[in-house]
């Protein structure tokens, strides 16, 4: 774990709280999923929390993020209220997309989340477009694209790097390399070159860091966000991490042979939340009580969110034609 001495305790704690909110929300979804009340596919980001937390820590409410099928964590880190998120999972009119989108299409315009897309790579040029808006409106906003290693297979990723670099747009490309796209390992899809190496071909800086070390994420993202905000143009960040669950749904996929069990186990030992929690304790940033209190607060929010989600109404059916345009 990288040293923290220049980061304020408040920020250090907030990072942890964000990670906890993500982890505990996702854990709750995993636990509740077998109830079959969440009637849409969920792509959980357990194991990858540090990236969302470390990057979004640098973003203002008005900055933009764009994300994928696996977006719960990003939205939580960006400040989205858990209640409309949970309600959307439950397919209720109280959901952020009134039940039309489900888990894969979260939205919160108040918090700079103009929507998420389940088409791999699809969100990357959208983030560039939002950065173009920021440039045109001169509003100082920064736009972040979160996407996976799989998305970096898509040509649209490179088209986006090219245009962002050409126009020096305030966008940060955050590639969460969890080494798999569904069950397809990175090495079956790409030669053995780090994704971050693509940056130089488009004349932009790139940085590779440990995605399970929230402070490493925090530092690298800080530089990138600052560069973007100051007119220095885009950055490509590659963070190595691992997803604990299967590609979709609440179960791990180790039993059915999707990934090697030992690989999975090794990564479980590198739990970003545990590592950072222990670090905070060891460095006297948080006491046991602090953590207990934080946990309680987060659990309460989640309880409320789930209750809110369950309580809402499903759309009537007669409103099927709403919201098309």
């Amino acid at each position: 774990m990288t040293a923290h001495t220049d980061i304020s305790a408040e920020v250090l704690k907030r990072l942890y709280e964000t990670m906890l909110r993500i982890r505990l929300f996702e854990d709750r979804v995993a636990v509740l999923y077998p109830e079959q009340l969440v009637k849409c596919p969920v792509h959980l980001c357990i194991g990858q929390e540090a990236i969302a937390a470390g990057v979004c820590a640098h973003l203002a409410k008005s900055d933009y993020i764009f994300s994928t099928h696996r977006s719960h964590g990003h939205c939580i880190a960006k400040g989205m209220d858990l209640r409309p998120m949970a309600a959307e999972l439950y397919g209720k009119t109280t959901g952020c997309a009134h039940g039309r989108g489900g888990s894969m299409h979260l939205v919160d315009t108040e918090n700079g989340i103009p929507g998420t897309t389940a088409i791999v790579g699809g969100c990357i040029p959208l983030a560039v477009g939002a950065a173009l808006t920021a440039r045109k409106m001169k509003n100082g906003r920064v736009s972040v694209a979160f996407f996976g290693d799989g998305a970096s297979d898509e040509g649209v990723f490179q088209e986006s790097l090219n245009y962002a670099s050409l126009m020096k747009l305030p966008v940060v490309f955050v590639c969460e390399n969890n080494f798999y796209a569904t069950n397809s390992p990175q090495k079956a899809r790409q030669p053995e070159v780090n994704i971050v190496e693509r940056a130089s071909g488009f004349g932009i800086p790139g940085e590779l860091a440990d995605g399970n070390d929230v402070l490493a994420v925090y530092r690298t993202a800080q530089k990138a966000v600052e560069r973007a905000r100051e007119g220095g143009g885009p950055t490509l960040l590659e963070y190595r991490t691992y997803r604990w669950k299967g590609h979709v749904g609440p179960l791990a996929d180790i039993e059915i042979g999707c990934r090697p069990a030992d690989e999975h186990e090794a990564w479980l030992k590198k739990c970003p939340v545990d590592l950072y929690g222990r670090y905070l304790q060891e460095n006297d940033v948080m006491s046991d009580q602090d953590i207990e209190a934080m946990l309680a607060r987060v659990e309460k929010d989640i309880d409320e969110a789930i209750a809110f989600g369950k309580a809402g109404q499903e759309p009537a059916g007669t409103d099927l034609y709403d919201y098309v345009y």
Binding site: R100, L126, L132, T133, V324
Partner: protein
């Protein structure tokens, strides 16, 4: 040409765009009407910008963007990398965060490159976000026969877009419509594909100077008639009118309906006209199979069945890719002569 002076009755849905429409009508070409629309949109709303491959070059997309970069600057009239999918994504990203981009393509043939962003993103964003985020994006694309441009440069792919809920697809045939419908699209919040036939750019017609807006979904009767209805799109409106003129000499009275937009489609007008004439020919610039002409025919079969006195006929491109050589091009693109034979076939 007289029909270009006919103003469609849009009163039901017309709204002003940046100011009330005044009286002054001037004769403008389709090209200049579009350029005026581009220019007024840029003047009216700082959120509007144009983007596209080479739109700032001397040719200026068949003249429709000439001079605009000089006037509005490179930040508002933007050249683009040749990266249709990514750049459409960029335009959508801009649209959902407050801009009103107009993405211009020299040919519709390049849009298959960006179908993902159009179909999966632009068309669905409003719905997927429960109506919270709109996509005020206009995409202009040129169709039609060139000079031996062949299979990859002469397509007329409007049906691919017209099949997708969440999009609008307009095909203005007159300068008046071109200006008003494009301004309507830019002013509106729905992602809209504007299909322009390259043989229309030189067509002249009366066009108000003030900005005005025409909403999609309202067709126009370009010529009234009793015996046969021809529902036509874009350039085929003119072939239909020419056929009608020739048939008139024989006492055959043709009603020509200009569909103006193919999504939404003015089903009421189709039905109304078919109820009157009892006969229908659908004339589209594209292919037949699962195309716009199929939809026109289907609407009649569904909603005007009792009125139909004869089989419906469709006039479209033959179901092959476009050939390069001229003898085949001649056989390929349907004309008024083909419409005339079709009319004779159902009388």
């Amino acid at each position: 040409m007289p029909w270009t002076k006919i103003q469609a009755d849009d009163s039901r849905k017309q709204v002003s765009f940046g100011g009330p429409a005044s009286a002054g009508l001037r004769e403008l070409s389709y090209r200049d009407a579009i350029r005026e629309a581009m220019s007024q949109a840029l003047e009216t709303d700082p959120a509007v910008f144009l983007i596209g491959e080479g739109i700032d070059d001397p040719g200026g997309v068949f003249g429709t963007t000439v001079g605009l970069k000089d006037r509005f600057g490179a930040e508002r009239v933007m050249d683009s990398p040749i990266a249709e999918n990514g750049m459409t994504g960029v335009a959508i990203g801009a649209a959902i965060t407050g801009m009103r981009p107009v993405f211009i393509h020299m040919r519709v043939d390049f849009l298959p490159m960006c179908m993902d962003q159009i179909i999966n993103h632009a068309a669905k964003w409003s719905y997927m976000t429960g109506g919270k985020v709109k996509v005020p994006l206009t995409i202009r694309a040129v169709i039609g026969r060139g000079w031996g441009s062949a299979a990859q440069h002469s397509q007329s792919l409007q049906a691919l877009f017209a099949h997708i809920p969440g999009l609008r697809v307009i095909m203005p045939a007159t300068p008046y419509d071109a200006k008003g419908m494009i301004l309507g699209s830019i002013a509106g919040n729905a992602p809209t594909i504007c299909i322009e036939h390259r043989w229309l750019y030189d067509m002249k017609g009366n066009v108000p100077e003030e900005p005005y807006v025409i909403h999609p979904g309202i067709g126009a009767v370009r010529r009234e008639g009793r015996d046969v209805t021809i529902v036509a799109t874009s350039y085929m409106v003119y072939e239909a009118l020419r056929a009608a003129e020739e048939l008139e000499k024989e006492g055959i009275s043709i009603e020509v309906v200009d569909l103006r937009s193919v999504l939404p489609m003015d089903e009421d007008l189709i039905v109304e006209s078919v109820r009157k004439t009892g006969r229908l020919i659908a004339a589209d610039t594209g292919w037949k199979h699962c195309g716009v002409s199929a939809e026109i025919a289907a609407v009649a079969a569904e909603k005007a069945h009792a009125a139909l006195k004869a089989p419906v006929r469709r006039l479209c491109l033959p179901f092959v890719p476009a050939p390069a050589c001229q003898s085949l091009e001649k056989a390929y693109f349907p004309t008024h002569a083909d419409i005339i034979s079709a009319v004779r076939g159902i009388l």
